[in-house]
Amino acid sequence: MQTEMIKRAKELLADGTVKRVAGWRSGDFQYELSPSIFTDAEDLEKNFQYSELAASNMSKYMIKESRKEGKVLIFLKPCDTYSFQQLLNEHRILRENVMIIGVACDGNLDIVAAKKRFGEGLLSLKSEGDTITATTIYGEELTAPRQELLLERCVNCKSKKHVVFDELIGEEGVEVETTHRFDKVDELDAMSEDQRFGFWQNELSRCIRCNACRDICPACSCENCVFDNPESGFSNKGAAVQMDNDMFHIIRAFHVAGRCTDCGECSRVCPEHIPLHLLNRKFIKDYDGLYGEFQAGSGEQETHPLTKFNMEDLNPTEALNRGDEE
């Protein structure tokens, strides 16, 4: 597929349809691909890569890129397209300046899990059928089942369908019928309040307030984030009190609720591997249950459950009492 993608990108650059190509660039390690903007054919030929290691969702960069001169070509995996569509719904991207080629995806590898499995000397990762082979700087060659080294969001993939695209490379997919996306959320919901608080305290106490989650999240695209505003009372850096740090995640989850497409990038980039996606999934589970199933970014949507009101919506008191029951 990589060859096809490079070929098509070069064609579109050569005939002037696009001026830039957004894709993944090979890095210092075979398994690290950087999201990158390519402008010439030679660079593409030499450095463009698409594989199970192309985990970055480049939709968010299109907010800026679509406002530059000339069209930009972007390759999007199925889950990436949901984020892109959501940004279109929010009028953040100028659609006419972006050409989308949807690419099929069979799941991305989790580098963190791979390093845990194969050690810190990891040099390369390769899939052969259901097995991953790894080489290390210590001269080892190790294997593991591929299923065990996929990103969590891929193990619980919700859709292989591209919701927005101009062209497609590879097979068109469909939405996944049943996933286990909400299993862990259910587990947390079943805990007692103290247990659940303990779980989150343990996870959030590792947060270094680096803002990687916010900066990579396609739903967090405010030009001036509330946390960057010194008047807001909420810091964008380390706070004097731990609770302020914890609140950052909860506030951010509230701010993206209804717009988060569950792309999983936040948890993937967290340096401390905090399972942030669980907060977002809790919100999704809740509003699915209260207002009917809703997937952000699955189509052209003017509003989402939290920004519109129907007469059939349940009484706020009902929602409140349900919380008490739990």
Binding site: G27, D28, M58, Y138, C210, K237, A240
Partner: protein, 342 residues
């Protein structure tokens, strides 16, 4: 060399704790990575090579109270909240961490005025290193003349299986070992020598062992500053602070205030030159886009700092290599910018 088994090591920690000296060591957390934590009964030392956060936290914590104010009408009362600390032990620092302390010392202690908050912690901290036996693919401390098998802390330690071999390097280190002498025994150190030999073989084969730093020589500041490659390399940088906050040598901070309801606490917290508001002034921002901010961080480590002190501001620990969400770390910069005129 003096040696101590892991079981006896925890007895030693208990003894130190009893003497009023807290012990901090790398501990595995629920995510599978290691971070420094305070030792208490039942805590086990991690076997991981690196901690997520570096050891600079002990001397330059992420948030630190500086002082307090009480305001009554027109009057202000300045309250010095500094306290004398008791000694504490950092057990398990790596050579890169130890080297980073020297870089931070230069900024906080040697450059006057002395930062007394940092100096206070530094004086009371006793550093026990554990030499690396299995460097990671992202490590490149050797490029900066750091020897992971000879960290040069207060006590240099080596872990071979479940035994730790300790050698005091400074007066502070000797004082520490004296306190736990009964738990240690004199041992033959051949296994340590063997480990060092194995490690040195691995070091030679590290992917970044031969990074070419020759272009970054401190004399061609504007040449590197104006290199057009900064445009492309910084394009997808998110401007988050992940690299800055895991880096053992980054030391920029912000000063903020918290109204506690009973006075105003002025505290400092880590900041990143990658952040939008770092140089933001009312009139303008001298670093208006991510390119300028990206460039600033790496110019500081590779050009400005060495221009002043003849030593690079990086210790090659590889944490940024591991943690950057878009893999735009310092090795990438060194390789890309290190090639002249392309």
């Amino acid at each position: 060399m003096l040696s101590i088994t892991e079981a006896k090591l925890y007895e030693a920690f208990a003894q130190l704790k009893k003497n009023g000296e807290a012990v901090y060591l790398p501990v595995d957390n629920t995510s599978g990575e290691a971070d420094f934590a305070e030792w208490k009964e039942g805590t086990a030392i991690s076997k991981q090579l690196k901690t997520v956060r570096s050891a600079k936290d002990f001397f330059f914590p992420q948030t630190e109270n500086l002082m307090k104010f009480k305001v009554h009408g027109k009057k202000i009362n300045v309250i010095d909240t500094r306290e004398e600390l008791s000694d504490f032990v950092i057990f398990g620092a790596r050579a890169c961490d130890v080297a980073s302390f020297k870089l931070l010392d230069r900024a906080f202690i040697e450059e006057k005025p002395v930062d007394t908050y940092y100096e206070n912690r530094r004086e009371h901290g006793i550093v026990v290193s554990i030499a690396c036996s299995k460097p990671a693919a992202s490590c490149f401390c050797t490029v900066y003349d750091i020897d992971p098998t000879h960290p040069n802390a207060d006590v240099d330690g080596y872990r071979v299986d479940d035994t730790f071999y300790l050698e005091a390097k400074t007066a502070k280190g000797e004082k520490l070992l004296k306190q736990i002498e009964p738990m240690m025994s004199e041992s033959d150190d051949q296994c340590v020598k063997d480990q060092i030999a194995t490690t040195e073989k691995i070091l030679k084969n590290l992917p970044f062992a031969n990074l070419d730093m020759s272009r970054f020589n401190g004399d061609n500041m504007m040449d590197i500053f104006n290199d057009p490659k900064w445009n492309s390399i910084s394009e997808t940088c998110l401007g988050c602070g992940a690299c800055t906050f895991v880096c053992p040598t980054c030391q920029c901070y912000d000063i903020k205030e918290l109204d506690t309801g009973d006075g105003i606490e002025r505290f400092r917290c880590w900041d990143s030159c990658m952040y939008k508001d770092f140089t933001q002034m009312a009139a303008a921002n001298p670093r208006p886009s991510q390119k300028e901010r990206f460039r600033q961080r790496f110019m500081h480590k590779l050009v400005y700092y060495p221009k002043n002190y003849n030593v690079y501001g990086c210790v090659g620990c590889g944490r940024c290599v591991d943690k950057c969400p878009t893999h735009l770390h310092i090795v990438n910069v060194i390789k890309t910018l290190g090639e002249e005129g392309k």
